[in-house]
Amino acid sequence: MTGFSSLFDGGARALLTDPAVWQAVYDTLTTSFLGMIAAVILGGGFALLLTLFNVRGKTALGFLFMLPTMIPPQVTALSWIGMTGPSSALLKAIGLAPPLGSPQPLYSIGGIALLYGVQNAPLVFLSLRAGLLALPRDGVEAARLSGASSWQVLKDIILPLSLPGFVAGAAIAFVSCVGNFGIPAILGIPASIYTLPTLIYSKFAAFGPNTFADVSLLSGLIAILSVIGLTVEDRVLRGRDYRVIGLSGQVAMFRLGNWRLLGELVLWLAIFITLVMPLTALIASSLAPAYGVPLTPATATLDAYREVLFKQTITRTAFFNSVTLSLTTAIGLLVVTVLTGYYLVRSKSRVAPVVSALAEIPYALPGIVLAVALILVFAAPIPIIGISIYGTIWIILVAYFSSFFAVSLKPVVSAFRQLDPSLEEAARLSGAGFGRRLIDIVVPLVAPAAGASVILVFLIACNELTVSAILWSAGTQTLGVAIYNLDDSGSFNLAAALSVLVVIMVIAMMLVLELMAKRLPKGVVPWRS
């Protein structure tokens, strides 16, 4: 981050008096806030229904719900546009397709927020779910016996007690909306809605002498926005006690009775809209010979797959890079975040909140800014050891570590907040030193959160675009870059085919996890109940 200080010089006044900037701040805030609400409703709803209620097919629902994160945001955006636009096969089929050139309803603040919500719902889902699993069953039961209806129990007991997880999820969702580029780029620009990241991007496009200064100023605004978000989070959580007293490990189950069918319908409908629709669109475009060609058995072709799989050498490199990068980041970060999280929650030091705020900022910064900062820092060889990591995969790894630190940290911190301290005390008295305790007691106890953290980071990193877009060089392409580049250069079907392959790969990896589930601590695999 040292590079940033060098970025701050001059031009600030001009920029700060530009009404366009303030309009962008406003739009960023509204879209992100609404997007967060949407993510909370969608992800929170799933988490609640799947962990607390007796709906059927939980495993399948949980499994499928994770997948939309894996579809690149631009693809999701495009498929939604396709679905709601004049060429929508769906709308055409029911005769409701709008005429050629009708305004696209998604090109709006609401549309952006909606897609933010869809994209970030799994973040809330995973984070909240970990919190819910830590709830002691008897607390819920006591409330029900007090006469509280399911709704009241939810409102008075479950949500307040799982508030750390809930708020953590909402906070990551908010911050990642603030930093999102793909969705406002596709949905916002046509409607002249600029968010700070798209504004920054356009600054880079018209590269001038003031660009670095302008961009750092805008980045500063983003940082301020996310710090404001975090302060709100901190306020909400401050001064309360979430430490579970007594034994957790069993989750109270509500019966839905007659509502069950309705609940299940809603869940599957949500899966259909957030997953099946964009995925179908994705598969359709991967099979189409060219964009806009109607897909029929006659026109369908596997050429795109052939090209991606066998001709483009970049595919294999990208798969290899992304998977190793994502796994390394996810697991490496877990180690870091468990330690940091432990420190943040247990330490009474005043430095702690500052550390946690600092951790959050890189995630909110648009990738392009972070990447440029890293280049400024690392392009020259590192002073003492004299090695340059610029141009190697290591710089991307460094970028991922700093960028996803917050994603990894949040669920873990919230789980620590709920931990009954006496569990750790008992381990200490057993003679277990810090490391020992961490491995044997603390980490398994926060397993659902740790699992959520690893999976979240993996999913996001696997698809990461903006950071690696600037930092990659020959041989270090990532999947996100590969897909984006294919798409950007007009090879839409190749991009779609590669995306489909990525989704398949993720499903395969999730299945492997599913097979290993029995050997992992309880709650790690988020779709299992």
Partner: protein, 304 residues
């Protein structure tokens, strides 16, 4: 690596170019990085700011950028022996950069569209109301050149853009987005670079491309050597290769209008003489680029 190339050519095209170069110069290990012009420039500028640019050769969309770099002393002058086969307007007299191809910007339309446009003026007609999309100069180098070119044409000018805006045209994103919008029928007409719709049409997409009768603007995707290069010889070889007959044929094979004289145009294009290029003064364009972006943005309400 013996040579590092930063380019904004599409992946497959970049790969083909590099492969061709390698075939002509065996033993040279080339690394290349492909991204959109803005990203490439962000990356490069950051590297320069950090004092360690990695690239040797730059192969990106427009002369304007190169003019700026030349002024900043970031380019290396090199007189290529191949230059004699090129129109003098297509390379820098001092040898700082060489155009490699012509990418024109014209009009594409969806085959379902009611009106078949033949001129820029058609897009401002009531038939096209709300149906026009174009790339934004903030996202595409070609789009900026295009806007600056049309702005200088009598009878069009910035008023033309105001008319377009009044007619409900939108300006957003890059050329890829325009292509998708028109191919999918979301919009009927698009202002777009030539090779995209021509290629897609060949693959069966329901689109047509026209060279409007007033003429088209063009970017030339020039190549240049960075003054900081550590592989001067290879870089020069690369420039020579791009300009060579062989290199130019490969460009044509990929669907671009080659810059070198005497090479046949790819399928789907009219004869070279029929393509009327609108004039543009590169020096003015450079001087005014920020102002022009702002003018455009003010008209279309885009920011930046």
């Amino acid at each position: 690596a013996d040579l590092v190339v930063y380019t904004s050519q599409p992946n497959a095209d970049a790969q083909a170019t590099i492969d061709g170069f390698k075939a002509a110069n065996p033993g040279v290990d080339v690394e290349w990085v492909r991204d959109g012009t803005p990203q490439i420039m962000a990356k490069l500028n950051a590297e320069i700011a950090a004092g360690n640019p990695v690239a040797d050769v730059l192969l990106i969309a427009d002369t304007v950028t190169f003019e700026r770099m030349k002024a900043a002393g970031q380019l290396l002058a090199y007189k290529s022996p191949e230059a004699k086969n090129f129109d003098a307007s297509l390379y820098d007299a001092d040898g700082y950069y060489y155009s490699t191809k012509l990418i024109t910007t014209g009009i594409m339309y969806n085959t379902q569209a009611a009106m078949k446009p033949t001129s820029w003026a058609d897009l401002a007609k009531p038939e096209a109301k709300g149906l026009v999309t174009m790339p934004s100069p903030v996202a595409s180098g070609a789009a900026l050149i295009h806007a600056q070119t049309l702005a200088g044409v009598d009878g069009l000018g910035w008023d033309y853009y105001k008319d377009l805006k009044a007619n409900g045209a939108v300006a957003a994103g890059g050329n890829g987005g325009v292509l998708k919008a028109v191919a999918s029928g979301e919009k009927a007409y698009g202002v777009v670079v030539d090779y995209m719709p021509i290629r897609e049409k060949a693959k069966g997409a329901p689109v047509e491309f026209v060279f409007p009768k007033e003429g088209v603007s063009a970017v030339t995707e020039p190549a240049a050597i960075l003054s900081s290069t550590k592989h001067q010889d290879n870089a020069k070889k690369f420039i020579d290769y791009l300009l060579s007959e062989n290199g130019q044929k490969i460009a044509a094979g990929l669907g671009y209008i080659p810059a070198r004289n005497g090479i046949a145009l790819p399928a789907g294009y009219p004869a070279r003489e029929e393509i009327k290029l609108l004039p543009l003064n590169a020096a003015d364009a450079l001087k005014n680029s920020e102002k022009d972006v702002k003018t455009f943005s003010d008209i279309f309400g885009t920011k930046g």
